[in-house]
Amino acid sequence: MPLILDHVNYIYGGDTELAVHALNDINLVIPDNQFIGLIGHTGSGKSTLVQHLNGLLKPTSGAIYFNGEDIHDSDFDKKKLRSKVGLVFQYPEHQLFEIDVFSDVCFGPKNLGLSKKETELRAYEALKQVGLEDEFFYQSPFDLSGGQKRRVAIAGVLAMKPDILVLDEPTAGLDPKGRDEILDQIAKLHNEMGITVILVSHSMEDVAKYVERIIVMNKGSVLYDNAPKEVFKHYKELEAVGLAAPQVTYIMQALKERGLPVNTEVTTILEARDEILRVKGVK
C-alpha cells in the first residue's frame, strides 16, 4: 500500500522566535516493495520526516496519504496505520521494558488486539526473522548484548507485520560486524517478505550496498531522489552538504581521470573489481 507525501511542511516551535522550518515542501511517493535509503547530515530533517510517516507528527501544512486516505482525517484509524508503517527509532533498545525478551516483542501485537495465540506466533516469527536464538527468549532483555538488544527491539516492531518498515539509524553505535549483520538481516527481510524498507542513515557507505533508491535530505528539503548510481554522480554536490559518496565512487572517478575507461557508475566494491578486470581485459 503506497504512502504519498504531498507538499508536507513542518515548523518546530510554532510562533516563537525560535521557530525552525524542519521540513520544507516535501513531495514523495513510497511505493510497495522498495528498498529506500534516506540520507542526510545531522539536522537535515530526516528524523522529523520519518515521524510523519506513521502520524506521530502532524504536518504544519500539506497532507500524507496512506493507500489513498488522508492519515490526519478524523475517522482515520491511526493505530492501524502504526501497525502498517513500523517505525524503529534510533537506539531502539532504550524502549525495552518487559521482564523477558518474548513478552517485550509481544507488546506490539498485543496492542493491536490480537488473540494470545496469534500474538505469540507473531512474536516467535519476528524473533526468528531477526535471527535471535531460542535460548535468549526467556532472558531479561537487559542481560543481552547491545546488538542482541537492538534485534529484540526491531523484532518488537516486526511482530506488528508492517508493510513499510522504517529504521532510523539502525546501526548507530554498533561495531562493524554488528552493523553488517543487522543490515544483512534487514536486506533479507526485504527480499523474503517483500516489505518496503526505509533505511535512515548519514553514511552512504552503509546504504549503497543495499538500496535501490536514495533520497538525500538537506536543510529540510529533498535534494536528490534517484537510483544510487545517479545520486553518486553528484558526489561533489554531496560533499558540499556534508555527505560523501562511497569510497568506490572516488576510486573509479580517479581511475577515469588518469585515463582508465572504467564505468564510474558502480556502487559496491565487488562491482568495482569486476569493472576494473573487464577494462583490463583479464576476464
Binding site: 515521524q51 502504526r82 524502549q95 521494558f97 496492542n111 516492531v157
Partner: protein
C-alpha cells in the same frame, strides 16, 4: 506538550538583570517574597506591581513567556480563591441558597490570588534570567556560613545543579520513549484510571533505566576527573560583586523600606 513547562527554565537574553550576580538576584527574590507578606493593602500591591513590571521590562524576557509558565499553577490558584471566597466568615455580600460570599472573603481571595501570582512571577523572573549553574553557585556562596553547623553546602549545591541540569534531558527522553511506544501501538490517553496507570509501565521502566544509566555514566565521568567534593575546590569563574550589584541592593533596600513604610503608615 512537555515542552510547555516554562517554570524553572532559562531564557537567553542580554540584559542588566541577566548580568546581575546570582547572589543579588537570590536575595532580591527572597526580599520580594517577604515584601509581598509585609504589605496588606492596595497601595502596597501597586508598589510591588510597579517594581515587578520594571524588573521584567529590564530583563527583556517577553511577558508572554512568563505568563505561559503560570498555566501550571492555575489549578492551585483556583482552589485558593474558591476556598477563601466561600469559607471566610463575615459580613454577607451575596447570598444564594447555602452559599454566602462575604466582604472579608472577597478581600482575602483577591489578596491571596495577587500574592500567589506575584510570588510565582517574581521567582520565575529569577530562574528565567539565571542559568541553573549560576543559580546553584549563588546558593552555595550564600549558604556557606551554614558550614559551621556541619551542613554539606557544596554537596547540596552540586546535587541541585545536577538535578536541574537533567530536567530537560529527561523530558526529551520521556518524549522519545513515548513516541517509540506509540509507534508500537501503545495508548497513553484512553481507558479508565487503572488502565491509564498500567499503560505508563512501558514508559516509566525505560525512563528509570535510562536515568540510572545516565547517573552511572556521570558518576564515572566525575570520578575520572578526580572529583572529591567541595574541599579545597576553586572556581574557574568565582562570583564577584560589581557596581550594578551594588545599585541593585540599593534599589532593593529602597523598595523594602517603602513597603514597610506603607505598612506602618496605613
Amino acid at each position: 506538550m512537555l515542552r510547555d513547562i516554562t517554570l524553572g527554565q532559562y531564557y537567553q537574553a542580554d540584559s542588566v538583570i541577566h548580568k546581575l550576580d546570582p547572589r543579588a538576584k537570590l536575595v532580591a527574590t527572597i526580599a520580594f517574597i517577604i515584601s509581598l507578606f509585609i504589605v496588606n493593602n492596595a497601595l502596597g500591591y501597586c508598589v510591588a506591581a510597579i517594581f515587578l513590571a520594571v524588573v521584567i521590562k529590564l530583563s527583556k524576557v517577553p511577558f508572554r513567556f512568563i505568563v505561559k509558565g503560570m498555566k501550571t499553577i492555575v489549578f492551585l490558584l483556583l482552589i485558593t480563591v474558591v476556598f477563601n471566597l466561600f469559607l471566610t466568615p463575615g459580613e454577607a455580600l451575596v447570598s444564594v441558597w447555602k452559599i454566602t460570599i462575604t466582604k472579608e472573603g472577597l478581600r482575602t481571595a483577591v489578596l491571596m490570588a495577587v500574592r500567589l501570582i506575584f510570588l510565582i512571577i517574581g521567582s520565575s523572573v529569577m530562574t528565567l534570567t539565571t542559568t541553573p549553574n549560576n543559580l546553584t553557585d549563588g546558593m552555595e556562596r550564600l549558604m556557606r556560613p551554614l558550614k559551621i553547623f556541619k551542613i554539606p553546602v557544596h554537596e547540596v549545591a552540586m546535587m541541585m545543579s545536577i538535578a536541574l541540569r537533567f530536567i530537560p534531558v529527561l523530558l526529551e527522553e520521556t518524549d522519545k520513549i513515548m513516541k517509540a511506544q506509540i509507534a508500537r501501538g501503545a495508548d497513553f490517553e484512553s481507558g479508565n484510571l487503572i488502565k491509564k496507570a498500567k499503560s505508563l509501565v512501558p514508559l516509566l521502566v525505560p525512563l528509570f533505566i535510562s536515568a540510572f544509566r545516565r547517573a552511572n555514566d556521570l558518576a564515572m565521568a566525575m570520578e575520572a576527573r578526580c572529583y572529591r567534593g567541595g574541599e579545597h575546590r576553586t572556581k574557574m569563574k568565582p562570583l564577584k560583586y560589581k557596581r550594578c550589584d551594588g545599585i541593585a541592593y540599593l534599589v532593593l533596600g529602597c523598595y523594602l523600606a517603602l513597603c514597610i513604610g506603607i505598612r506602618v503608615v496605613t
